[in-house]
């Protein structure tokens, strides 16, 4: 059997292999080394949760701690990308986009278009997303719909270690700016991951489970919730096809539409808040392009339209659960016109 490593190790390995392969790859972010300017061990942290640990020892100055100045260093990553480097920049939590968003959507994303096709901006912004850590309203959000909305950005949201490695390597080699979203709850999830380097192309969704009765589109951590729900449902005789988007931009419309053409029913599961989200995006796509195949309303299972609560009791209710997916699927299955 193939080697099993965690999601977090898969990311570390992707970074390691790409840094070894191409010396233009550099890493920057807060405490990505950890310990700059201190008396203790350098590489003390390797990122706030240890994801970049060990890289400083191998690559030295190519991995750089930054001041807490997200506009400054994200912008520097963007500028460096136009000048011959391939920076992988860490925005610790996606929640912090509010202090540096301009450098991403007005600068990186638009250079190529504004400059008449002459710019290439191969920058990757790695960032943590999602609830489940009791980290409260400003450290638990799923803000990737905002990035998905921006022309010129690519947005990646892996659900498992295998995809994490292959998609991150692809992201680093890609010549467009990429937002790479790591769900913090997934870091400890294990999976089979080849040691060799490999890429997974963007815009190719994964059929995480085949099924006939209903399509469940999910992404990131929600793929696991959807698979659990599908398991439960299968014992009740409902066969779910679970589609893991992998990337929301570019979007694999074909796989989604084909699946719905076969099943005639759709539930979209997204941990983000409900308005103007991936859930509405996929629903709208299907209501437009596969309407004639639809046999029932499209259900969306999302977080409520509220900030993320701190209390564990509330946070557990906030996050879409396998149970809520089961209910949604059943209600769609029960529909008859």
């Amino acid at each position: 059997m193939a080697r099993k490593i965690t999601f977090q190790q898969a990311i570390n390995e992707a970074l390691d292999q790409e840094m070894a392969r191409d010396e233009d790859v550099v890493i920057m972010g807060e405490d990505v080394v950890g310990g700059a300017g201190t008396e203790g061990e350098m590489d003390a942290w390797g990122g706030v949760l240890g994801v970049t640990k060990g890289l400083w020892g191998k690559y030295g100055d190519r991995i750089m701690d930054t001041p807490i100045s997200e506009s400054g260093f994200v912008g520097a990553a963007v500028g460096a990308a136009t000048a011959g480097l391939r920076p992988v920049c860490e925005l610790m939590f996606i929640d912090f986009m509010g202090v540096c968003f301009d450098q991403i959507y007005n600068q990186a994303a638009k250079f190529r278009y504004m400059f008449g096709g002459k710019a290439e901006t191969p920058v990757v912004i790695r960032t943590m997303v999602g609830a489940g850590f009791r980290a409260a309203a400003q450290h638990s959000q799923c803000l990737y719909p905002m990035f998905t909305a921006v022309p010129g950005l690519k947005v990646v949201i892996p659900s498992n270690p295998y995809d994490a490695k292959g998609l991150l390597i692809q992201a680093i080699r890609d010549n467009d700016p990429v937002i790479f979203c790591e769900h913090k709850v997934l870091y400890t999830v294990e999976g089979e991951v080849p040691e060799d380097s490999y890429t997974i192309p963007f815009g190719e969704a994964d059929i995480a489970r085949e099924g006939e009765d209903i399509t469940v589109v999910a992404l990131g951590r929600m793929v696991h919730q959807a698979l659990e729900a599908a398991n439960t449902l299968s014992s009740g005789g409902i066969s779910c096809e679970v589609v893991d988007l992998r990337t929301t931009s570019p979007l694999d419309e074909e796989t989604i539409l084909e699946s719905v053409e076969n099943t005639g029913r759709l539930v979209v599961v997204d941990e983000a808040n409900p308005r103007c989200s991936i859930a509405t995006d996929i629903s709208a796509l299907v209501a437009k392009k596969a309407f004639e195949h639809l046999n029932a309303p499209i259900e969306m299972v999302t977080a409520p339209h509220t900030p993320v609560p701190f209390s564990g009791a509330l946070e557990d209710m906030y996050i879409p659960s396998p149970d809520s997916i089961v209910s949604a699927v059943k209600s769609v299955m029960d529909f008859s016109q």
Binding site: E30, G40, P67, I68, S69, S311
Partner: protein
């Protein structure tokens, strides 16, 4: 100045510092036991800073805090039981358990909120100061920032804005030498944070943040300036944190024995007690009485928090807007 401090004041100050220390030490213990969830940043070691500032503030003055906010809350008069319950995520918490350690706020006591965003507070404090200025009520605002936060663009903008609008606000930088695992000697490109004041047209001053009396005096000057309508000031408190960046931090970026040494040599509470007894006629027994009262208070707070109920399902979707 120390002279202006009555015995009453000094005992108050001691009580505040001690309450903060006990609170944080206890949260540390309970966190390790698994009773407390989330990201928790402790203030132990920095008590003289919040306390020396807080002694100059009334409930109508506003305070904007950061992720390391427990001490600021206590010094601003937020009730300790509610805070503890909040940190436990309980319905009886200051914020009904919806905010947690990083978001304790109590607008009634002028506590505008801890903040999970580094540099989130300075602009907000400017706003509170603007309100005071417009209402001509003689009130002021203060914001606490770390050395790490001193490099955030929002912080710089706020300092400039405060100066342009001549706002009654004081920027207090608590320089504890680290922003997470990164040294301030690395991240702050000038020698002292106080060196930045000139670029924003305001006075900048350094105080020994282990020394309550120095902090009290320096902030007294800055707050007086603000109250008189003479504009903002910058203060840099040099101090140390006794725990890790957050609970769970192995602190391997610190020199060996560093924390041990700090606890012995730089403890602001020990230092305060010694001075209070030797120079201000306070009795050791008075301090001991406070120690035991504080101990009880914290015990009670933990019991209260532990025995309080979780928020209920309906709390999930309320308090988003005024009408739900």
């Amino acid at each position: 100045m120390p002279d202006a401090l009555t015995v009453e004041d000094l005992l108050d100050a001691y009580r505040t510092m001690k309450t903060i220390r006990e609170f944080e030490d206890r949260v540390h213990v309970e966190f390790a036991k698994g009773g407390i969830p989330g990201f928790v940043h402790l203030y132990a070691g920095e008590e003289a800073s919040a306390t020396g500032v807080g002694m100059h503030l009334s409930k109508e003055d506003k305070l904007a805090s950061n992720h390391r906010g427990h001490g600021h809350c206590i010094a601003k008069g937020v009730e300790v039981k509610g805070m503890m319950a909040e940190i436990y995520g309980k319905a009886t918490g200051t914020c009904k358990g919806k905010g947690g350690s990083m978001h304790i706020a109590d607008l009634d006591t002028g506590m505008m909120g801890a903040n999970g965003i580094v540099g989130g507070g300075p602009p907000l404090a400017c706003g509170a100061a603007l309100a005071a200025k417009m209402k001509k009520n003689g009130k002021i605002a203060v914001v606490f920032c770390g050395d790490g936060a001193s490099n955030q663009g929002t912080t710089f903008e706020a300092m400039n804005l405060a100066s342009v609008w001549k706002l009654p606000v004081v920027f207090v930088f608590e320089n504890n030498g680290y922003g997470e695992a990164t040294g301030s000697s690395y991240s702050v490109s000038c020698g002292d944070i106080a060196d930045r004041a000139k670029g924003f047209g305001m006075p900048g001053r350094i105080a020994d943040g282990h020394d309550f009396f120095e902090v009290y005096e320096a902030f007294g000057e800055a707050s007086e300036r603000a109250r008189k309508g003479e504009g903002p000031s910058l203060l840099e408190h040099k101090l140390d944190r006794f725990y890790g960046h957050f609970e769970g931090d192995n602190q391997n970026y610190r020199a060996e024995g560093e924390v041990q040494k700090l606890r012995e040599e730089t403890c602001c509470i020990k230092r305060f007690a010694a001075t209070a007894v030797s120079e201000h006629g306070i009795n050791q027994s008075q301090l001991e009485a406070i120690d035991s009262e504080v101990g009880e208070l914290i015990d009670e707070a933990v019991k209260f928090a532990e025995s309080s109920p979780d928020p209920s399902e309906s709390d999930l979707t309320t308090d988003v807007y005024i009408n739900y």
